[in-house]
């Protein structure tokens, strides 16, 4: 007890020292005055004191759980058991689908717009989930593929008057091609090098788009992009939002279906094998180059497609929409939701996009909370909110045979 108290006090004093110059002092060089914000110091002291207790408690719990896991007992939590129940699954899916379909009819345009952006992130998260969650290839430049899709629609629309529906697959395929082109040079790289190179690709994309005025119209971006047309009719703003909303719902369902099938397919199992152990995977006769490239290409495909939709929704794009921060948000969706888990990623996207949207006071602290959440998640719950269920196979024959071996 005393021990704990002492430890927390030390932590508290340490953090007060640590945050002192940045949190307390503020220099106004214009008026030549120093502003001392002593209240912040008190908050840091109290906050770190309480957090250090929590931190120790959580670490202790983590240790216990690890010990149990080491003993080989697999515990399935209640949510996992519920998720495995097929009849519950169908009912839940039906209710969610119904709710999604009536949503724009019940709520106003503003709510639908927010919902559309959340759905965009759902698709982006599911796309990134293929390369990060399933194949274990950390991609920090994912937003570039999103940008490729958005720019391909904006440019094709601007120069050739191509419509939304034609460009949607084109955007996806272009994203795919970019994934393959960028994938080739990095086939030989391992996890962390890969991360930094993909980060570089993301930055190159933004720099090129900012400076190549002839192609992308530079930082001023492209405006007046057509909204999707509905059999050639011009829709009012409210109606076209609803229309985009439904397109987005369809796209999300399509994505979920395909990624779900992919996950349990031959190539999906190859991705998971590669994530777990690359060398063992090669030994099993899996073509690593093809597996990696397909993970990149299929991940990028969704980003390209949803990029087209993003451009048509906002009707204006510029390079500022495709910064590293976007990549980081998408990555944190995947990480927080649960790498590899489709349901987790969907919940993660709604959580991370809708929460700051509805809690305006909180939105300033959004990125701070994202960063902290990524660290805490990795330490205390690396499997994410909804952990990925492993496909298990049961031996159906009699047990004696195995024992007699």
């Amino acid at each position: 007890m005393i021990q704990n108290l002492k430890q927390s006090l030390i932590v508290s004093v340490w953090f007060v020292f640590l945050t002192f110059p940045l949190m307390v002092v503020r220099v106004n060089t214009m008026d030549q005055v120093v502003i001392w914000r002593w209240m912040n110091m008190v908050w840091v002291a109290i906050g770190s004191f309480i957090l250090s207790y929590l931190w120790r408690y959580m670490l202790a719990r983590q240790q216990v759980r690890k010990k149990v896991a080491d003993e080989g007992v697999e515990i399935r939590s209640r949510t996992q058991l519920l998720l495995e129940d097929m009849s519950f699954r169908y009912k839940a899916m039906g209710i969610i689908l119904l709710a999604a379909l009536v949503f724009p009819l019940v709520f106003d345009t503003y709510q639908s717009t927010i919902m559309i952006s959340a759905l965009i992130y759902v698709v982006l998260g599911l796309g990134l989930n293929i390369s990060v969650g399933l194949a274990g290839l950390l991609d920090l430049g994912y937003v570039a593929f999103f940008g490729v899709g958005a720019y391909s629609y904006a440019l094709l629309n601007h120069h050739f008057d191509l419509g939304f529906w034609i460009t949607l697959p084109i955007g996806g395929i272009l994203g795919c091609l970019f994934g393959i082109v960028l994938g080739f040079p990095i086939l030989r790289l391992r996890g962390d090098y890969l991360a930094i190179v993909t980060l570089g690709f993301g930055m190159i994309f933004k720099v090129v788009m900012e400076n190549w005025d002839g192609l992308s119209f530079g930082p001023s971006g492209i405006a007046n992009i057509d909204k999707p047309s509905f059999f050639g009719m011009d829709l009012s703003l409210a109606n076209s939002t609803i229309y985009i909303y439904y397109i987005m719902i369809a796209l999300v369902i399509f994505t979920i279906l395909v990624t779900n099938r992919l996950k349990n397919s031959r190539i999906g199992r190859a991705w998971i094998a590669m994530r777990e152990d690359e060398i063992a995977c090669v030994a099993m006769g899996i073509d690593i180059a093809r597996t990696k490239l397909s993970a990149y290409a299929l991940g990028a495909f969704w980003a390209g497609m949803v990029g087209v939709l993003f451009a048509s929704k906002t009707t204006f794009i510029n390079p500022a929409s495709f910064t590293f921060m976007e990549s980081a948000i998408i990555l944190s969706i995947v990480v927080l939701g649960g790498m590899g888990s489709i349901l987790g990623v969907i919940i993660g996207a709604f959580f991370l996009i809708l929460l700051p949207e509805y809690m305006r006071a909180f939105s300033e602290y959004r990125m701070l909370a994202f960063g902290a959440a990524m660290v805490l998640m990795m330490i205390f719950r690396p499997q994410g909110i909804i952990s990925n269920l492993r496909q298990t196979y049961e031996y159906k024959g009699s047990k004696d045979k195995i024992n007699n071996g």
Binding site: L18, D192, L368
Partner: protein, 300 residues
Amino acid sequence: MEYFLELFFGGLTRGSIYALIALGYTMVYGIIQLINFAHGEIYMIGAFVALIVAGVCTIYGLSGVSILILAGIIAVIYACAYGYTLEKVAYRPLRGAPRLSPLISAIGMSIFLQNYVLLAQTSDFLPFPRLIPDFLFMEPVAHIIGSPELVILITTFITMILLTLLIKKTKVGKAMRATQQDMNMARLVGVNVDRIISLTFVIGSALAAIGGVLVASYIGQVNFYIGFLAGVKAFTAAVLGGIGSIPGAVLGGLILGWAESFAAGYISSDYEDVFTFGLLVLILILRPAGLLGKSHKQKV
């Protein structure tokens, strides 16, 4: 010719700063095989603390070189403290976890620290006082190499010699090298591995802070975002020279500095960052182990 020399020294200055930051990456990577993404943020925090100290000192009436030294020392102390805490909070609990976990934790920490400074201070660019005086004897060559550049070059040179001595000659340095070669074996022969890892973070952070203070007083402004790009570029430098290798980090930093300086001077400054990352991709394709790095055969 003069233009060439100007670019040459500009690149040298820039490169030596990259090298200072790259050393932190390379040392940490050598020991725990982790890209410390938040390293650039330590550099930024170093610069920010120096700015705040310098601001307070100016208002309370100190002047000139004394501010520079005081600000530098406090910045280094704080950067060390941040580096130490960073390792303890974000990386130590993850030792032994799958490789992706500490990496994501590092990215999270980087985002966290950026936004922490953004919220605690400001998102604007703050002017950094010109603390390095113009030396009189530099006047004849001032159009090629200025006094701040000279100070940066001398400081980095001294720092690197001290670092080399620390690693090659002292007992602690020996322990660090042992830990780098084989962590478990080092533990067996009585090296306190945890402490060595902490120390590595502290030394790396100190180097980053020195770089931060020098750059901030050279460029003249500071912002919460400067650490990100500097960090990525320094990492590129570390990879270029072969990550894990200390002379490699210096060489990589200098090459990167020159490449950027000449590319910006002779080709186009808009695409400066593209050259950096282009170089990174090229090196990784042609020589994944870097220029001075040893390629490890993975044994199963």
